[in-house]
């Protein structure tokens, strides 16, 4: 990102830089053909794979969850080991809403987003204590563990280790019943994911998103340029929490069940793995990673039902040892070579 000029309006700057910044922003926010293709393929999967809708819903939810993590890791440089806290909170809030308030899915979604966002706002300041990755890892992990313990102890509310029983979700918009084959569920997940993706894309391509990248690359320099580092990080953390909460709520609403599992450590670890499989910092990483993760999981479970985690760990190990940036650069390098040969 060294060649990027930031769109902070400085009065003393010549107008040329401002124009260049505006053009750069516009170029970033323009929709590329590959992106349209991706979403067309996603929409086509709904019609072409009717017997896989359950699996596809899971992928959409996992992808949305990983997308929320990408916002803070890929764009703000905040490493989190406890993103599952927001996912789990959203899942429980959606479940409790359906039992105690209303079975309307969109209301559950909104309340879950609200609760997760509030938790993000409350715990976000802890991240700013000391900008050391270790403290951030421990604080996020601590919050997630705290929430897991709370859900475990508050059995009168959450059902404890037995899980939350009796989640009933009313038909979507009063018309589409959630069926056994997950058809409504997949359409619902896909549309929600798509809408949130568009919002997230708008956010990261805005001047605000650029300022986040500046903070990620060099917080000290960003601050001296006049970017308010603390509030910006807090905002993206809360926004990411909202999306994670919605992903959790989607899981509850499509499976009609919540258990302590949604808050377990492996959720937070899995979603990191998903994001790394897909690539960090370009929003599609989470979605592509979710597809790769579920396919790998399917394949490994078929090979060794109990021990698929071992092979998943090995894949992750190899990715890290080879180097993520080198793998990320691979498709581009191949593309460049093809173009060169085409020209020659």
């Amino acid at each position: 990102m060294t060649d990027t000029t930031f769109a902070t309006p400085l009065r003393a700057e010549p107008a040329g830089i401002e124009r260049r910044a505006a053009r750069d922003l516009l170029r970033r926010s323009r929709c590329k053909p590959a992106e349209i293709l991706f979403w067309l393929a996603a929409a086509a999967s709904f019609f072409l794979l009717p017997d896989r809708h359950l699996l596809l819903s899971e992928i959409a939810i996992l992808g949305l969850f990983a997308l929320s993590l990408d916002l803070i890791i890929g764009y703000a440089g905040v490493v989190s080991l406890g993103h599952g806290a927001f996912f789990g909170l959203g899942a429980y809030v959606a479940g409790l809403t359906s039992i105690h308030l209303t079975g309307e899915p969109l209301a559950g979604l909104a309340l879950a987003a609200l609760a997760a966002g509030l938790l993000g706002l409350l715990t976000g300041p802890l991240l700013l204590l000391r900008a050391s990755d270790l403290t951030r890892l421990m604080v996020t992990l601590g919050v997630a563990m705290l929430l897991l313990e709370a859900a475990n102890r508050a059995a009168w509310l959450t059902g404890g280790a037995d899980g939350l029983q009796g989640v009933m979700i009313a038909p979507l918009l009063g018309r589409f019943e959630f069926d056994l084959f997950g058809t409504t569920a997949y359409a619902y997940c896909l549309i929600v994911t798509f809408v949130l993706f568009l919002i997230a894309r708008r956010v990261v391509t805005s001047p605000y998103g650029l300022s986040l990248r500046a903070i990620r690359d060099n917080a000290l320099r960003a601050r001296s340029m006049g970017i308010p580092v603390g509030p910006r990080l807090l905002a993206i953390y809360a926004f990411s929490a909202v999306i994670a909460g919605i992903a959790g709520a989607l899981l509850t609403q499509t499976t009609m069940f919540v258990s302590l599992d949604v808050l377990a450590f492996h959720r937070s670890a899995d979603v990191l793995l998903v994001l790394v499989l897909g690539g960090v910092g370009y929003l599609y990483g989470g979605l592509i990673g979710a597809i790769a993760f579920k396919l790998l999981q399917d394949w490994f479970s078929a090979l060794t039902p109990q021990y698929w985690m071992f092979w998943m760990g090995l894949v992750l190990l190899v990715i890290v040892l080879i180097g993520r940036d080198r793998i990320d650069a691979l498709p581009r390098a191949i593309l460049r070579r093809i173009r060169k040969e085409g020209r020659a």
Partner: protein
């Protein structure tokens, strides 16, 4: 009351022995190693298997529980960890999480998912009384053994040539290298000793914390808490933190069992808010 205090201290000492290696890895090499608990698990399994399958007496298994993880640690450091020292923390976290998952599944596959049990020798069972306070024999043994280890570690760090080199490498890697200190070798040796100590801690902890394939994850949190709260500037910080966490955990589980592990996480977050640099902050 005093019994709980003594149990807490024994537990805290044990946590410190396990965490000391991580404190050095984090402080020295700035490497976030979430897989430290895996070495503790290896040590535990060495002791459990040597006792149950080969009939080796408990005390004799302890050196083994140190040596085997230390050896594995040395090999892993040279082949895997050394490549990642300069990478981002995210890469290190991913790498060590992958190791944890692989270690857990491998243990499950090789040895089964059930709890490992050992029978302590007769002279370590039961309890005795000092001035009207009931003290478990094993707890007393733990306190004495770990205290010896703590003193020995402190002496090695403060008094020996190796300790001086290690401290030099902590303060300024480049300058240390310029003085002709073999920083890579020191890293490897320190990593091996740290892994060995974790293994020893795992072996000593079977009786208190249990041992099954999920052990690395369970202990990871505790060990990381100890190091984060203690700070990585010295070993005194983690030692204090281990005692606080150990006592708080035992007392919390005894007096307010409804809270469970809640107390520990709350304590960690509060301590981090109060002292974000750790209990004993670096002098820089």
């Amino acid at each position: 009351m005093s019994t709980i205090l003594i149990d807490g201290i024994a537990y805290g000492m044990l946590l410190f022995v396990m965490a000391s290696g991580l404190a050095v890895t984090l402080g020295l090499m700035n490497f976030v190693n979430l897989a430290h608990g895996a070495f503790a698990m290896i040590g535990g399994y060495v002791t459990a298997l040597a006792m149950n399958r080969l009939g080796v007496p408990f005390l004799l298994t302890l050196p083994l529980a140190f040596l085997v993880p230390a050896l594995i640690g040395a090999v892993a450091e040279r082949t895997l960890y050394a490549r990642l020292y300069r990478r981002s923390h995210l890469d290190q976290v991913l790498f060590s999480i992958a190791l944890v998952f692989m270690a857990m599944t491998a243990a499950d596959w090789l040895l089964g998912s059930s709890q490992m049990l050992i029978t302590l020798p007769g002279w370590l069972q039961g309890r005795f009384e000092i001035a009207g306070i009931g003290v478990g024999r094993y707890r007393a043994f733990l306190i004495v053994l770990c205290a010896v280890l703590v003193v020995a570690l402190q002496l090695v760090l403060a008094r020996t040539r190796f300790g001086a080199r290690l401290r030099a490498a902590v303060d300024d890697q480049r300058a240390a290298r310029g003085l002709g200190i073999n920083v890579g070798g020191i890293f490897a040796a320190t990593f091996a000793v740290g892994s060995g100590l974790a293994g020893l801690g795992g072996a000593l902890g079977i009786e208190i914390m249990g041992l099954d394939p999920t052990f690395p994850l369970k202990i990871m949190v505790y060990v990381l808490i100890v190091v984060t709260i203690g700070g990585t500037a010295s070993l005194t910080g983690p030692f204090l933190a281990a005692l606080i966490i150990g006592t708080a955990d035992v007392a919390g589980k005894y007096y307010i069992p409804e809270l469970g592990a809640f107390l520990i996480y709350l304590l960690m977050i509060v301590l981090l808010i109060l002292r974000p640099q750790g209990l004993i902050a670096p002098a820089r």
